[in-house]
Every structure is written in structure tokens, then in C-alpha cells.
Amino acid sequence: MIGRRKKQADVIVPAAEAPVGAPALVEAQRTVTRFGHGSRVPGWDEAADLTKDPAEIPDPATTPVPEALRAEIEAHMAKYPNFRSAAIPALAAAQRVHGWCSPEAVEQVACVMRLTPGYLIAVASFYDMLETRPVGRNAVYVCTNISCSLCGADELLTKLLEETDGDPDFNVRHFECLGACDIAPMASVNGVYVGPIALDDVPTLVEQIRAGTPPLPGKQLHLRKSTDPNASSGGPSS
């Protein structure tokens, strides 16, 4: 059983020295950093203090929330019979503002939704697209599930990681099946599905992401026609 939790031992930063705030921990993107109290998340140190009461619903008077974010969260809450249903859309909205579900972001959502930060952190940590640590602003999800890896997704991910190594603007990660096995190997670049991506395309793709232009415009999913030979010819009318 020795070493079961090997990744905990990677880097241990004493809790007191743990930097708080988003940009300080860029290198944390690669290796999972653990802090003195065992959490992977910088900034949550105090939550592990068992002598302290859990965080309560933030006080609106002392928690400034950007107006646009507040309006968006309230609009989400109004859509559902129970306002709690808006937890995921609200966290996603806060993540768009703050770059990740930072303590500040969660606090603001908690303040608007009148929920405890602990509840929201529990939700955020369950879902892969909600980031609980600072990440680069360009999200590149590479599908490495069976269909894609049969078509060379693992090599693609390695190459993408090499090309973007050390660039704090990138969040390149493998992802569960993204539901686009017909364009394998593929990646979701800031939400845009592109594929099949040849290894030679990678430098171009990275350049395009850096420049903020559409990724591999000729290979985007929405251009793809149906492969079913009967779909366009149309069978007998139903």
C-alpha cells in the first residue's frame, strides 16, 4: 500500500507560504501541487482548520459582486422551480469572469445564490469543466478515450503539451469522450470542436490559438456533412 497516494508527495508547500491568488501558481498546471494541509487548491488553507467554523453565506454588504455577473446568476436562478438548480450555470459564469472557481469567485456566487461556499465547492469539484485551481485561459481539451486513442490521440496530446510547454495561457488536458469520434483524433479548443488533427497541424493550431484566430478553420466540426450515404439522397418519404 506504500505510495498509494504518491501524487500528494509531489510538492509540499507549508500552509503559511502557500500563495493566494490566481496568477502566482502557473507551474501548478503541470504537477498537482499539494499544500501542507493536503488540499490541492491554493487559497483554501483555512477551510482545513478544524477549529474554525465552516464559512457561512457571505454578507452582501462586504462581498462586492460585478453587476453583470450578479445579473447573469439571478437570470439563471429565475429559470428553475428551485434556485439551487442554477449552481452549475452560476459557477460556470463566475469561472468565465475569474478564469477559475477561485475562492473569490465562489464567494460571489455564494453571496448571490445565498448558499454556503462549501456547498458550491462540493459541486465545483465534481465537474471536470469547473476548475478548482488556476489554469490558462485557452482551454484545449483533447479527447483520449478509446475511439480517439485508436486514431492517435495520445500522440496528439503529447505533441500539444510539448508545443505549449511553459505557456501560462494554455490549459491543455486530456478529457473524457467528447462525443466526436467521427473526427478522431480531435480536440475542443475553447469550445470549438476541431478534427481530425494531424500531428503536423499542431504548430499551426497552437499559433492560431495564441493569435486568437479561429482554430483550423477547415477542420471544424460544424462544416462536416453527414457520412450516411442515404441522408442526403433521402429514402422513400415517410
Binding site: G3, N145, I146, A180, C181, A231, G234
Partner: protein
């Protein structure tokens, strides 16, 4: 069996002219007769008449379980409480991408189906739970819902029938388990997506504890067509127990991966070789998943099985979501098994022990197989772990790993043993070899070996 025979008269329902430009707008959809079946249902039929039509069609759920859709709606209690309809557009089963194409190219077909199903079930609130990764599709659906609202198909007193329905698009945030119906409901309620104990089933206590119908995108999109052609006529397509057409997503080692609409009951060979072009030149099919990565694998001799629910079940597998993943003979079975097990380990929600621990130990054992530390006896242990998982969890995620892994070990045992032997000779010290195994550490290996 030959493609010519199929092309003579392929029934094509969902994918008919799917690439027509502008089909995702309400104008083009209505020009093609869209929303007419909604008008027919709401103005000339009673909810029970719609349900009867669905029952007569023999339509079975297209999301994985294959439960008769009409029956699901008929289970909803006829009492005066808030009822809900949820469309499962999470589509997280590896290998499945049919709903993506439907939602992207013809979102109104889905919306019309949702309204018809909600009318049959007496639900006044409906939700589409779409996976967070589908950003483009979510934008398209958002626009389509706004168009449908503007046209008076969603809202209060639809088409003067007195039937009210709201429709909300809810985006998930990346979790395989939210495709499981009760996990989806928890996620929709704003919680972690942990599956619930069943019973009570969602038909009695689902979303916000109210009676809830949950259907897959493809199932709902088929409903307008069933009303159009009549349940009886729809039941004539396909086989006796598997009526209708099915969208199959073919991927992996095939020449033309993609979505194909097939009549249920055609030989699987025709799908893999006829439509998808078979494996690349010079390679052979080694094994294939007939219904997503959760289905037990089948071998080349099973290629002539008719592709329908009951036949595949008899063959020890399942049709599942209709995702065929083909693996050719150049791929070692151990690498596929390891990939699969790692995926389920990551996606296990951790709520029940057999799944949480079983997926983790299966990965550890497969890593030992891969590094040469295993013995053939480990394969027996691994098989028994899979048996202990199946049927012992709240939801089917554990089974979804245990069934394919168990079938791979059973069907390719010789290759597993050969892999162990080859790895042992190549790498007598296990994972200590620098850069040996897949990023895992030597400590783990020594600890596991000494345990």
C-alpha cells in the same frame, strides 16, 4: 447483406435530408412539415391517444437501456402534481455522437418531440440537460428554443389547446455519470451528480421529487415521425422486438467513421463493412463494442449477428446507445482494457464501494499486467473483481466497466497471458525501468507486489 440490397429501399427517418442548409432554423423546419404533428397531437388527440400511438410503435429508448418509451410515459401517475419531462442530451457514453449531429442540424425535431412527449405525460415543465462540452450545440438549441417560443409552440396555452409547457436548456459541466438518469436529476437540481437509489423510480419521484419522464434525444426526436406515419406503420420497420430505425455511431479503426441511420435487425457486418468501410486496408477486425464502451466486446465471428436489442443481448452484449467501436488486429487488447478502466476509474462518482474500489483495483491490476508483474492468476482475480461489481452498485457505471473488461479477459485470455510473459521478459524489474509504464511510479509497483 450487400450494400446494394440495402440501398434499394433504406428507411430513413431522422436523417432524411439532414444536411439541408438552414434546417436548424424554424422556417426551413416548418417548410418541411415541422410542428404539424405537434398541432395534430395538441388539437385533435388526447394525451392517452398519443401514448397509445407510442406504445403501438414499439419504440424503445435509444439512450442505452432500451426500455419501451410508451410504457415509460404511461407509468407517470395521473395525479394533479407538478410533472417534469427531461431530455437526456448528456451523451457521454464513449463512442456515441448521434445526438450531437441531431441537435446541431435539426434542433426543432427534438423540441417538437419534447412537446409531444410532455403533452402525453401531462408534464408542464421540461428541461434539456446537455453536456457542457457541447457549446455549439447549446447555442443552436438556445436559439431554436427562442424561435419555438416566439412561434407559440412553447409557453402557455400552446396552439389554443390549453396546454402549458416551459422549456429550459441546462448545461452540464463535464461528468460521465450525469448521463445516468438519476445522476442527471441530481445534477439538474444543482448538486453533485451522484446517482440515487432506485426505487423510487423517476416516474414516481424524479426531479424535485415530482413524477419525471427522462428520454434520450433520439427517442424524443423520433416521436413526431411516429405520429406522422402511425405507430403501427413504424412498428413494421425493423424486427418484431426492435422496431424502427436507429442512428449508429461507428468509430475507431474504420475507414468512414460517422453516424448512420439503419433499420434495426440488419447484419452488423453491413454496418461495419458496408457503411463504415471496415478497418483500414490490410487489417482485420479484432473485436468490436456493439453499444458503446460499456458493452461487452464481440468478436469477428459475431459480425453476422443482426443488429437489434434482443439478438445482441442473447450474444452476451447489448445494443446500448448504438455506438459501434471497432478495434483492429494491430491493437493490443491490454491497452484498450487499461484505457477503458482508467476512464471508469476517473468517472466513478465514489458513492458506492464496489464501483469506487473495483475500478481502482482493476486499473492497478491491469497496470501490473502491462508491466509484467502479474501472473496468470491475477487474471482470475481480475475476473472475480468484475463479477463482484456487477449488480452490486446503485447505478450501472460499475457494471459498465466490469462487463467489457470481464468479456475481454474471458475472450482474449491467451493474449493477456502472452502480454504478461512478454512484459516480464522485457522488464524483469517491473516499473523500475525508467520511463517504463505510463507515468506510474515504481513505489506503487513495489508496494503492490509486496502486498
Amino acid at each position: 447483406m450487400t450494400t446494394e440490397a440495402r440501398n434499394a429501399s433504406p428507411p430513413i427517418i431522422l436523417f432524411k435530408d439532414i444536411d439541408e442548409p438552414g434546417l436548424n432554423s424554424i422556417e426551413v423546419y416548418r417548410r418541411r412539415g415541422g410542428y404539424e404533428m405537434l398541432r395534430k397531437a395538441l388539437t385533435t388527440m388526447t394525451p392517452s391517444a398519443v401514448t397509445d400511438e407510442l406504445l403501438a410503435s414499439g419504440l424503445r429508448g435509444r439512450g442505452g437501456a432500451g426500455f419501451p418509451s410508451g410504457k415509460k410515459i404511461s407509468f407517470i401517475p395521473k395525479v394533479d402534481v407538478d410533472k417534469y419531462l427531461v431530455c437526456n442530451a448528456d451523451e457521454s457514453e464513449p463512442g456515441t455522437f448521434k445526438d450531437r449531429e441531431l441537435m446541431q442540424k435539426c434542433p426543432h425535431m427534438l423540441i417538437e418531440g419534447i412537446i409531444i412527449a410532455a403533452f402525453a405525460a401531462g408534464a408542464n415543465r421540461s428541461f434539456i440537460y446537455i453536456r457542457g462540452e457541447y457549446e455549439e450545440q447549446a447555442l443552436i438549441l438556445d436559439r431554436a428554443i427562442a424561435e419555438a417560443e416566439a412561434a407559440g409552440f412553447v409557453g402557455s396555452d400552446i396552439l389554443g389547446s390549453g396546454f402549458d409547457l416551459s422549456l429550459v436548456l441546462h448545461r452540464g459541466a463535464g461528468a460521465y455519470i450525469c448521463g445516468e438518469e438519476t445522476g442527471l436529476l441530481d445534477s439538474l437540481e444543482g448538486k453533485r451528480g451522484n446517482p440515487r437509489l432506485k426505487p423510487p423510480f423517476p416516474a414516481n419521484q424524479g426531479l424535485y421529487q415530482g413524477p419525471t419522464v427522462i428520454n434520450n434525444v433520439e427517442t424524443l426526436a423520433t416521436m413526431p415521425h411516429i405520429l406522422k406515419m402511425g405507430g403501427e406503420a413504424y412498428a413494421k420497420i425493423g424486427t418484431e422486438t426492435s422496431a424502427g430505425t436507429k442512428l449508429v455511431s461507428v468509430s475507431g479503426n474504420v475507414q468512414r467513421p460517422g453516424n448512420y441511420e439503419i433499420e434495426l435487425g440488419i447484419p452488423s457486418r453491413e454496418i461495419i463493412y458496408g457503411l463504415a468501410g471496415g478497418p483500414p486496408e490490410g487489417r482485420e477486425v479484432k473485436f468490436w463494442f456493439p453499444g458503446g464502451s460499456s458493452s461487452p466486446v464481440l468478436e469477428p465471428q459475431d459480425l453476422d449477428l443482426p443488429y437489434d436489442f434482443n439478438t445482441l443481448q442473447k450474444a452476451g452484449s447489448m445494443l446500448g446507445s448504438g455506438a459501434i467501436i471497432v478495434v483492429d488486429d494491430s491493437v493490443p487488447v491490454v491497452s484498450v482494457a487499461l484505457k477503458l478502466a482508467k476512464f471508469y476509474r476517473h468517472e466513478s462518482c465514489g458513492k458506492c464501494t464496489p464501483c469506487r474500489e473495483g475500478t481502482r483495483w482493476t486499473v492497478s491490476m491491469l497496470e501490473r499486467v502491462d508491466s509484467g508483474l502479474a501472473t496468470p492468476m491475477d487474471l482470475d482475480i481480475m475476473a472475480s473483481v468484475q463479477e463482484q461489481i456487477i449488480g452490486n452498485c446503485l447505478c450501472v457505471l460499475g457494471d459498465a466497466m466490469a462487463m467489457p473488461i470481464g468479456s475481454m479477459v474471458a475472450k482474449f485470455r491467451d493474449e493477456f497471458e502472452a502480454h504478461i510473459e512478454a512484459a516480464r521478459l522485457r522488464n524483469p524489474y517491473g516499473g523500475d525501468e525508467p520511463g517504463g509504464r505510463d507515468g506510474s511510479d515504481p513505489v506503487l509497483v513495489q508496494g503492490a507486489a509486496g502486498a
